[in-house]
Symmetry: C2
Subunit: 689 residues, 2 copies
């Protein structure tokens, strides 16, 4: 039977699929989770996917929408022309005719990501950059015929002492032209009583009739793989909702370098990636706003557009705020330098060429309307500063959340994402660097890797005596040995499970110090797969899974994890050498899965330098916490600019023994370095849970 | 034979036209001048006109493109789809089927306006708001990896001492996002040597590779009837070219009130008028740029767009600059408050309601790209401040050019346009007001009124004994009595001719003090027209004209001129009373035709208060001169904001005896006021030229 190569993103699941099978069937076969309420009848529209166009040498495929069966009538009901042009299809309607790379958007996944990338709570003084002022104006009379804007500015001066709004200067930055257009109507709408939102005591960004005092903002963390956005009620310092999606740019490449390459090879590629992320952010913003609406509200685009015109926070229908886009008056965005540049449609080409200069480092305030973000159009979007080409605003945000520059202790902060970012130092000196970990720790590039959604193994322990495996699954508190086989409906292994693996495989003697499977194995879980020609170890038997086949870890998977951990270890070690220290006081591990990290196992696998295990602290999504902090407190924005300039970037690749160190760091742990804390741990008996 | 009402704008020529005649034939019949190189064969595309859609009660017509014959193939060659949708037709192809209001764009007129609205030369210190700085940057190295923007800002600080560009603050206004996008390429294009254009020592608005020092700007005066734009080589303080067009909004109404009414009655009307003027300004800018190109250059849109991409002033092809839109880095705009608001798409509705508050008074700096002006996209367009609802930025510009606020003498400055604007005062106090003169002095609303183009009578003298008429025609130095009849090819009477008329008709006894034709007339030039049922006086016989019929002035025309001059006189008188003076030292008369104004005749007709005729000074297009001044000197912009706030606006209609005064001012001159200078003039013998 003729087959074709089908690859699903962002999961990375791939395989040969018989021609004429639908994409939905292909997804089931490959363990990809695509929503399908109607069971593939083309009548629910939930299984929408995107077909990538072009050549993807990495996968050895040329993907094209022509490699799928023709457009069906049923699809037109759920996919508009614009979406169709972008390659949208219903997975149940499109059948395989040739190779294809398929992107499954967040909303089409049957299991939503549940691992908390929600920013850690942090103590921040409330001092937002946008403040509201209530004004009662005197209407114009024959003896007082000043302009509407002048009247407003005078009242702001007299009633609130705001002088710097351009009323006495020759300059006009008091409000933008679109706002000026709405001014006469808004002033007269509620009898010359208005609430005015002012950005930085400098510019009016919104005028509401009547008295309104609540402020809302959104903090966004754009990761190479995952995007997180939190809606915050600023006055109440309260997170109302958090949304997570896969970065839609994954279809152009999994890491930053492959996205830069995509841009270099495709004219218009940069614009395309920029538009994709802006559209994704707008969908997230919409979802955040909807979360404040009652469940039964009409959420069609028409209803939404209609309410957009209303410019008050309506406390109707009980507890519901019914926020509309205009209510969002502030947004902070963090991300690595490449995500930052691509978002702004700034060419990141030179960032990838030594000595890797970014186009801009300082923080930016950009009008929402000129970015195309669907919030209050005259509001500013704040992008935190970049430290360097490969250490971006996301790392600055981590620093804001952890503030090592205020501390005497030498801290090592590791932010593990598709790109690993490291900071080392204290209040005297801070060094930073980045290392290409690849997406292994995010569940991609691993045979049964998956996102942290229900069915994902998030913790693993292996008995050194029997090589029996127990695991814990996302969404369940009990370990597998306390549950009936099959009840956990395992589907794959997510990031924190993958982080456990290397330590457990090594500690139990299944793999050697160099990462190869031992010749003599104790259990039938080890085997040689004749299909893939790879040695593998079974983590969960088919009967325990929801996908009907054994979930294994292959020799290739082990190598991927080794590469990732070695990259981080090398970065840590070389940073310490540059800083001039042989030890660190504290190791903080950030990242979306960070809260699940087992400090001891990071030591055993040799990902971090030797350290008291009690001083290895998982800090979760610290970048998100930093974005949130700068949303709540304007002083932190100035601090961020200062910190970004203070941190010294170290280019690892330019250091002379980088390669040697990296190769030795592939060992579990590093081949030569002393690990006194690790030694005492390995000799103790308390490891097996 | 069935006929339809056809009205041409901006000339106002109208009449009944037999159905099935082409618009070109209609134009010829009504004396409208439409270009037609091919003689109506549909093969030159020069006779393009716009058909208005909608009801025009003033003319008693409902105009519709359906009232013309169907679209012809020939038209598609010259009119694209967008233009077609806006109502464009070729006058030779469209034939009359019903009533229609037709707008003839400047470029389709067979005779171009030649009266100089070119700003008077004025002495201005060169201190532009945009300055260029040349920089040699050090390329990034491993030990210096700062961002491209940071590198640029640091060099500006080190090499030119520019510190306020946001590099050391938490704020980002150093350049906008579009410019940031071009930054990496531009820096590397000529080996890290760039010229940087900086606005107000505050924001980078353009980056050019290599060394460039020339600056160019455009000063624009948007009149209700006429728009003037001058291209200026700023460093050389030299006007390179000036363009004039009729304001395309004329089709929506001739004066500001009818345009506000059009907006109130038509949803989208404001946007439409705004788009029309922006498009017209872009066409003018294009024409100004083309004037710097060699004649034989390819001027197709394609060629233009192509060169747009090139960002240097190329001194190729001898003397030619070949300026492109990006070379224009500064624009100043003046206009009355309504033109100002409509241009910015700001609702002018409230400006027309007592107490007539404008939406904004202060000057505005608006990004060219957000206005849609096709110049350097990151540049700012400067709109001068408005004094009040009916005294706008154009009057502020007049004040900038004449500076009465620096003088001891009491000056009366009259700016005659479709709206008359008056300023009275000296350095102690300035009063301003506006009066609705109507467009009579601009040649509209007068039977044979026309713009100041070839064939227009611009000066008139009538022999008191014989009532014989001599006149002078635009473009000819000799008076009609020194030329063979018919050689002057008269087509109508323009503004300055109309201003002569009332004085001459009165002084020669053809009309009475009250403006009625005398019962007993000396010449056969006076007659009763049985068609129009109006008494009229022949200015030029059919044989002297190019239109084959007598050019006359009717009783109705005389009334129109009386209304216009009475409005101005009443304004002057009431302002003097408010100021507390019975005399003025100087009267300055501004306006496009101002340079042709005969001071004595303005006295005789009773348009201005009594004054020494040597102190009546025509000052030409002073508003344009002010726009030019503020383009060349940034200090004048601050001064303009100060002056706009200082001037006190007087609302004439709210003064108690406005009506009485107006009625008495209809007389030639005012019925009761003393005119000592006028009396001595009328008794002298030196009047007849």
């Amino acid at each position: 039977m003729e087959t074709a190569n089908i690859i699903f993103q962002p999961s990375g699941r791939r395989g040969k699929i018989s021609k004429n099978k639908s994409l939905l069937e292909a997804a089931r076969e490959l363990g990809e989770n695509i929503e399908s309420l109607c069971g593939g009848q083309g009548s629910c529209g939930k299984c929408r996917v995107l077909v990538a166009e072009g050549s993807y040498p990495k996968y050895g495929v040329v993907s094209s929408s022509n490699h799928l069966s023709g457009w069906k009538k049923a699809e037109a009901r759920y996919i508009d022309k614009k979406e169709k042009k972008r390659g949208s299809r219903l997975a149940c309607c499109a059948s395989v005719q040739g190779d294809a790379l398929i992107f499954v958007p967040e909303e089409s996944m049957s299991s939503k990501q549940v691992v908390s990338k929600r920013p850690r709570p942090c103590m921040i003084d409330y001092d937002p950059i946008v403040k509201k002022y209530f004004l009662k104006l005197k209407p114009p009379t024959n003896s007082d015929v000043q302009g509407d804007l002048e009247r407003l500015l005078k009242a702001l001066k007299q009633q609130h002492g705001l002088e710097d709004l351009g009323c006495d200067t020759d300059m006009m930055h008091s409000c933008d032209i679109d706002l000026l257009r709405s001014l006469p109507t808004r002033l007269r709408e509620q009898n010359w009583e208005v609430s005015v939102s002012i950005w930085m005591e400098r510019e009016i960004i919104r005028i509401l009739p009547g008295k309104v005092s609540d402020n809302y903002g959104i903090a966004i963390d754009i990761g190479t793989t995952t995007v997180v956005a939190s809606l915050v009620h600023l006055n109440a310092t309260k997170i109302l909702d958090t949304q997570y999606i896969s970065n839609p740019q994954i279809k152009y490449g999994e890491d930053v370098i492959s996205r830069i390459n995509y841009h270099s090879r495709n004219p218009g590629g940069l614009q395309q990636m920029s538009t994709d992320i802006i559209e994704a952010l707008n969908r997230m913003i919409e979802a955040l706003l909807y979360s404040t609406w009652p469940q039964d509200t009409d959420r069609t685009p028409e209803a939404f557009d209609y309410r957009k015109g209303q410019h008050r926070c309506r406390k109707s229908k009980g507890e519901f705020l019914c926020l509309v886009p205009e209510d969002i008056e502030d947004v902070t965005i963090v991300g690595n330098t490449i995500m930052h540049h691509i978002l702004l449609n700034i060419d990141p080409k030179h960032v990838a060429l030594a000595p890797f200069p970014p186009v801009v480092q300082k923080s930016l305030n950009i009008k929402a309307k000129s970015m195309g973000l669907n919030i209050c159009p005259s509001a500013y979007v704040h992008l935190l500063p970049n430290e360097a080409g490969f250490v971006g605003a996301d790392n600055v945000a981590v620093l804001m959340a952890e503030a090592p520059y205020k501390n005497d202790q030498i801290q090592l902060i590791i932010d593990i994402g598709t790109n690993g970012e490291l900071v080392l130092g204290n209040k005297e000196r801070l060094l930073s660097t980045s290392c290409a970990t690849g997406p292994a720790f995010e569940g991609a590039e691993i045979t049964f890797g998956m996102r942290a959604s229900p069915g994902a193994i998030e913790r693993i322990a292996i008995d050194p005596e029997t090589h029996e495996v127990v695991y814990k699954v996302v969404g369940h508190d009990a370990w597998s040995n306390y549950v009936r086989p099959g009840d956990l409906k395992v589907r794959g292994i997510c990031g924190s499970g993958i982080m456990d693996l290397l330590a457990e495989l090594y500690r139990s003697g299944i793999i050697t110090k160099s990462g190869s499977f031992q010749q003599n194995q104790k259990s039938s879980r080890f085997r040689f797969n004749t299909d893939t020609k790879l040695r593998e170890f079974v983590i969960a038997w088919a009967g325990e899974t929801a996908i009907g086949k054994d979930i294994t870890i292959t020799q290739k998977d082990v190598r991927q994890i080794q590469l990732a951990k070695a990259a981080i270890y090398t970065g840590c070690k070389l940073l310490m050498r540059e800083w001039g220290t042989e030890r660190v006081d504290v190791v903080k591990i950030a990242g979306g899965f960070g809260i699940h990290v087992d400090p001891v196992k990071t030591l055993i696998m040799g990902m971090i330098p030797d350290c008291d295990p009690h001083q290895i602290i998982p800090i979760g999504n610290a970048a998100g916490a930093g974005a949130l902090g700068t949303l709540l407190n304007r002083e932190l924005r100035a601090e961020a600019d200062w910190v970004a300039r203070m941190v010294e970037y170290v280019d690892l690749a330019s250091l002379k023994d980088f390669k040697t160190e990296f190769i030795e760091a592939l060992h579990i742990p590093h081949k030569k370095d002393p690990f006194p804390h690790l030694a005492s741990i390995l000799s103790s008996e308390i490891l097996f849970q």
